[in-house]
Symmetry: C2
Subunit: 238 residues, 2 copies
């Protein structure tokens, strides 16, 4: 008998996870995390709700047999302490958007559980949907989540600032796409500390001053100053 | 007769440009920009040297017939004023590394010249090696170069900081590669202002505070604060 899975939440992660699990023939029910109505019985309950909302959802959640799991990078496993005796984490390290389909098989999944047999159970489920499964404790997962903020959220914001600079000159943001793509591709073939280029990396003060003159005062200019300083400090070290 | 090209410089851009031009059967000679020895006659002289070094190279360069061109994003075309009567710019918007081959056909090239017939000549050369050729004046090119610093140089530095966070926990930087790849792919399918995710985008102060607690004092922590503030300000606007 396949493990019966109950997904709590209807956000981006829940949507993609459901599709991946059903593709592997797991029976999956999905429950609205706000109303928590009609909760079926299952073997594993996966809470995929906003990080902030999890404690509140757990308070309202009825007592159930089975394994409780969440999908949040930054929340320790013991958030479940008191809510259930069997618990764990299944954290997919990826950025999800509702309208983009994603090949789950390539998404690194990080799992842990508070006992060996549940760790084994989670491992079986995780390995059914991804080829990249790692057992990782809550402490290390915090750092993984933090690193992901730099590599994804902050990176996207830099894309946005570059788009803003171009669009204010009536230039299309699309012009940058080949550069964005190659910068990311390079990251998979060489360590980013060896891939650094640009005026800050070669301490080219003249070019940096010219750039600062083009920027309006505000965060965008502060970001230029701070990141350049950080790059130059690295360049001086290697 | 094919346009005879003399490349001054042996750096990454020069190396890739030479390969792309020769693939299209342009006769190309290459000259060391430091020694400037044995400079052959050509129709077009392409100066592909460090931005800072260009004025000095031009001072030492002998008088020549032909079109003078540089490849620097941040340097105005009139750097050639006084050095030659015919001049222009051929700026490839890409990050080059010596050991990575690059499909030049997909690199956006931005050109300008100080007279119409040389603009036409440059256009012919540029279109032979790339399908993305745009005529762009020096003023706009400055902003393009500035935007590229955010989308490439600064992005790579964020990759490097994320690697640092992982490596200090004995986790492999490679774990982030699927996330880096998807973040860049998303940028080609939706505008980055619509793709923003993460704690700052949803003003999740608890998670941000937990992250700040994990970070050592210094630029890496300042970068977290400043970028989060800038993302939150955007999120409040849209």
């Amino acid at each position: 008998m396949k493990t019966k899975i109950v997904l709590i939440g209807k956000g981006n992660v829940a949507t993609h996870l459901k599709a991946a699990l059903e593709k592997q023939n797991f029976p999956v029910s999905q429950v609205n995390s706000r109303t928590l109505e009609n909760i079926p019985d299952g073997d594993v309950y996966i809470f995929s709700v906003k990080d902030d909302a999890l404690p509140e959802v757990l308070e309202k959640f009825p007592a159930k047999e089975g394994l409780f799991v969440h999908t949040a990078g930054s929340i320790p496993m013991d958030v479940f302490h008191g809510a259930n005796s069997r618990y764990g984490v299944l954290y997919p390290l990826q950025t999800f958007s509702k309208n983009r389909s994603i090949d789950f098989d390539h998404i690194p999944l990080f799992i842990e559980a508070n006992n060996q047999s549940d760790e084994d159970l989670l491992k079986t489920i995780a390995e059914a949907i991804s080829s990249k499964v790692t057992i990782l404790d809550s402490e290390k997962r915090k750092y993984l989540h933090l690193a992901a903020v730099y590599a994804c959220n902050f990176v996207n914001h830099l894309y946005k600032l570059s788009a803003q600079i171009l669009e204010e000159q009536d230039l299309s943001y699309d012009l940058l796409l080949p550069l964005i793509e190659e910068t990311a591709n390079k990251a998979s073939r060489m360590h980013p500390k060896d891939a650094q280029t640009g005026p800050a990396a070669r301490s080219d003060k003249k070019t940096m001053d010219r750039h600062l003159d083009l920027l309006p005062d505000g965060d965008i200019k502060e970001i230029y100053r701070l990141l350049s300083r950080s790059i130059s400090a690295d360049a001086a070290m290697y």
